[in-house]
Amino acid sequence: MRKLKRFLNYFVLTAVSLLSVFPLYWMAVSATNKSVDVIAGRLIPGTYLLENWKGLLQAQNVGSALINSFRNSIMLTLAGLLICSIAGYGFEIYHDKGKDTVMSILLLAMMVPFVATLIPLFQMFSKIGLLNSTLGFILPTISTPFLIMLFRQSARSFPHDIIEAARIDGLSEFGIFLRIFIPTMRSTYAAAMTIVFMNAWNNYLWPKVIMLSNEKITMPMMVANLLTGYVIDYGMVMLGVLVCTVPTVVIFSLLQKSFAEGITGAVK
């Protein structure tokens, strides 16, 4: 029985792992192959990477899309982490009835689908001139109930003795947050950073609506643009997809361990 279970576990886990990785492997390999070879089903790396890269550069402004995506995502990550973590800390450490009420109202915002605010946001932002700007990209998603909750939960495990000791040492309330809370909660910050950066990088609907100028398009928009035209150059398209995927995969791999820890800490 035990042996059978063990065999079944390994069999299922291996099969699912292979199925999970295969489309990504196929994408990466196809980026190095000629379109005809991709269609023929070639599954080993080829030598056409440079040609695909030249084709990609010719078709789209990859450099500017990369810079835009990095700028937007980094700014959103910094702003979101700062504002949501200080709010989560505030909710937990200075906890009272009034703040509990505010928190439950904020949680209602989780139920508001983005598409329901899309058009009013577009109208507001075009009126105040925020179209085509990084500020316009980041403003709607800096503060999210999910992230505030994540930090609130992790602040629960932050010992009150430390706060008292720091107060006696004469540290200001903001100083305690900045110098003690942030360094102690590194794994929560890493988890939050992974989530926010990935969401920012992958966001498609909102930049598609506000980034009207061609120089402002982001990586996902650029990759989607590669599909226009009747004949699709698979090698080139897959290279575009690869370039769009590498940053998030790298961030995830680097922060994977703290990501798991941060999530675990938050759900306790």
Binding site: M1, R2, R6, N9, V12, L13, V16, S17, S20, P23, L24, W26, V38, I39, G41, I83, C84, A87, G90, F91, I93, Y94, K99, V102, L106, A109, M110, M111, V112, P113, V115, A116, L118, I119, P120, L121, Q123, M124, I142, S143, M198, W201, N202, K208, P220, M221, L227, I232, M238, V241, C244, T245, V249, I251, F252, S253, A260, T264, V267, K268
Partner: protein, 296 residues
């Protein structure tokens, strides 16, 4: 007496500092979520373009009932929801409990592999699946090579198969994500419970049904709400995998709302009315899920 007064002043001051810490986040959510939501409600009772919008009551909502594309989109979202979410959550639960087994080695490797799809952007994976299932794509090529097919199947050109591809793609992208939440939840369950159950002769299926699922209930509720929310807002897949086709057979509500607002001649009144329907559906379903989650 004096010192008491001073300490009260101090606690009041701290309380105020607490509010200041919350302020930016609260203001942003009010300004970027609640305020636009109220404006959307107002806008949904108006029709017209630009400055020439006038109040027309429930006209937009009545129009929806006769809009075949909207009804199709609504149906599609629910179709994805009912088929895909249960399969994905069950699969994620099974995988998580397998990974939680103490006998299993290479846990990190399996976990990374299964979570990896979540690091791919939605547009990217939509395009990968579109290429895999294209008429001249990898799936057809392989099926012909092995001899299962004689002629390629037009996966994305047929309503049923196109929906199936979207569901497969969604399962591929999100199972690992949900699994991570379950794994985190499982860490809070004492492993000795499983060992005791095994000594008592409980089969793995029994352990799964009687221990894992009941103890993970809050986590299952959370992931069910998140998945419902996400499925009702599907956009990237509909746009980039099938472009809503063939003949709107796979279009989602968000995709149709986008088209109505920014591709056809803009009709913001009608679009916001449709988006408000999405909002109500999300809220009602979350409410029902929380209620049933409480009862059990």
């Amino acid at each position: 007496m004096k010192s008491k007064k001073k300490s009260m002043g101090l606690s009041k001051r701290r309380n105020l500092i607490g509010w200041i810490f919350l302020l930016p986040a609260v203001l942003l959510i009010c300004g970027m979520s609640f305020y636009p939501m109220i404006r959307a409600l107002v806008l949904s009772f108006r029709t017209g373009v630009g400055a020439n919008m006038k109040f027309t009551g429930f006209y937009n909502y009545i129009r929806m009932l006769q809009d075949k594309v909207f009804i199709q989109a609504l149906f599609n979202n629910f179709f994805y929801l009912i088929i895909q979410v249960p399969i994905m959550l069950l699969l994620a639960l099974v995988l998580a409990s397998m990974l939680n087994d103490k006998d299993v080695k290479f846990k990190g490797l399996f976990r990374t592999a299964i979570f990896l799809p979540c690091a791919t952007s939605l547009v990217s994976y939509a395009i990968i699946f579109r290429a895999l299932f294209a008429l001249d794509g990898f799936i057809n090529t392989m099926l012909i090579k092995i001899g299962i097919l004689d002629v390629p199947i037009n996966w994305l050109g047929n309503a049923q198969t196109a929906k199936t591809v979207i569901i497969l793609a969604l399962i591929w992208r999100w199972t690992g994500y949900n699994m991570v939440f379950y794994l985190a939840g499982l860490q809070n369950i004492e492993y000795s419970i499983y060992e005791a159950a095994e000594i008592d002769g409980a089969s793995p299926f029994h352990q799964f049904g009687r221990i894992t699922i009941p103890l993970l209930k809050p986590m299952i509720l959370l992931t069910a709400i998140m998945s419902t929310n996400g499925t009702l807002q599907l956009f990237d897949e509909s746009v980039n995998l099938t472009n809503g086709g063939p003949a709107n057979a796979t279009i989602t509500m968000s995709h149709y709302i986008y088209k109505m607002s920014f591709e056809y001649s803009p009709n913001f009144g009608y679009s916001t009315a449709m988006s408000f329907v999405v909002l109500i559906l999300v809220a009602v379903l979350a409410f029902i899920q929380m209620k049933t989650g409480d009862k059990r």
